[in-house]
């Protein structure tokens, strides 16, 4: 959009002013993470994989909920203790259950979750194959005509011949 009128220009300036005015407010929300960049990077990676339990459709990395803050701090502490990602996940699963993981571990309880869609797909394919085979087996040429039908067909064909 090209702003041509004076009014438009001042509106644009006002909007720009609002944006600038907002910037510090926005910056206040994101608390600057203290400390080691290596740990912060690992924290960012691992918390993408973890669900915030208060606001369930957010990851632990993106959530601003109080508990998410605490849990991030906890994960940071575990990372400083040099724990592996698997250890940290196990620590959280022990407390909050599999639900905390976006990619739950593959085990009998989660088999339906992991393999259910493929099982359904297979079922659908089998159904489709059965359907196609059934249709192919009923070929029109093979369908036997009864004596009565045959006479009917011949009569109709003859009638078509006659002018």
């Amino acid at each position: 959009m090209i702003i041509t009128t004076r009014w438009g220009k001042s509106l644009g300036l006002a909007l720009l002013g609002l944006l600038i005015g907002w910037a510090p407010l926005q910056a206040k929300e994101a608390v600057p993470a203290p400390g080691d960049p290596v740990i912060e990077k690992r924290l960012a990676l691992i918390s993408e994989e973890l669900r915030c339990l208060v606001c369930q459709n957010e990851s632990l990395a993106s959530s601003r909920a109080e508990l998410a803050n605490d849990l991030r701090e906890e994960v940071r502490k575990l990372l400083r203790e040099d724990q592996s990602d698997a250890q940290i996940k196990a620590y959280l699963v022990m407390r909050y259950g599999d639900f905390v993981l976006y990619r739950p571990e593959v085990k009998p309880l989660t088999w339906v979750l992991w393999f259910g869609p493929f099982a359904l797909l297979l079922l659908g394919l089998l159904g489709l194959m059965a359907y196609i085979r059934e249709r192919q087996s009923v070929k029109p040429a093979q369908a036997p005509l009864s004596e009565e039908d045959r006479r009917k067909v011949e009569r109709i064909l003859k009638m078509g011949d006659a002018p």
């Binding site: 208060v54 109080e66 508990l67 605490d70 407390r95 909050y96 599999d98």
Partner: protein, 195 residues
């Protein structure tokens, strides 16, 4: 006839599947802690003169751990139930005050020192219990929420039933209801007390 029956059965199956799925509360997450020993802690209680309290102090008794806070509105709704229930003296109820002092409670630009925080939390909690009734044997203060994390607390109020050996036998996330208390918690308490 068969042509219509198969889709109908499939459709009904889907309806049942969705009906079950949609009527479940996604906030009711099965706790992995049920059947596991209650995580240990040693926390200050509301009483400044009393020693630190931990679950090991309740060994040999069936007891309830109820997570609460004065800022938690659902706790206030739930509270009369515990006050009434405590009068029956059926079993001890221990309060776990979860993060009484919230970040927004702290003065601008400054964080409370831990003793300052403790004092304020004690005052606030005591006042609240005075006002709404105190069903608790005692209440401990989990000021930084560390114990809460160990117990998998993510929505206050929460209630845990712990047996004589210190094993968590039941967990309820959210407010306890009179129905749930009668239908689930109390039968379990009777069973555990008989052991």
């Amino acid at each position: 006839m068969k042509r219509f029956l198969i889709p109908l059965v499939l459709f009904l199956g889907l309806v049942i599947f969705l009906a079950v799925g949609l009527s479940r509360d996604p906030h009711e997450i099965p706790s992995p802690l049920v059947g596991k020993p209650a995580p240990g802690f040693a926390l200050n209680t509301l009483d400044a003169q009393a020693p630190l309290f931990g679950p090991q102090d309740m060994k040999g008794r069936v007891w309830i751990l109820n997570v609460w806070a004065t800022w938690c509105t659902a706790c206030r709704q739930e509270h009369p139930l515990w006050v009434a229930f405590s009068k029956e003296n059926a079993l001890p109820i221990v309060g776990l005050n979860y993060k009484e002092i919230q970040p927004q409670d702290e003065p601008a630009g400054r964080k409370y020192a831990s003793d300052e925080k403790l004092k304020l939390a004690r005052e606030r909690s005591a006042l609240w219990l005075q006002r709404y009734g105190d069903p608790y044997l005692l209440s401990v203060l989990d000021l930084d929420g560390r114990v809460g994390i160990d117990y998998g607390v993510y929505g206050v109020p929460e209630t845990y039933l712990i047996d004589k050996n210190g094993v968590i036998q039941y967990k309820k996330i959210g407010a306890m209801t009179p129905e749930l208390l009668q239908s689930t918690l109390l039968p379990l308490v009777r069973k555990l007390n008989a052991l």
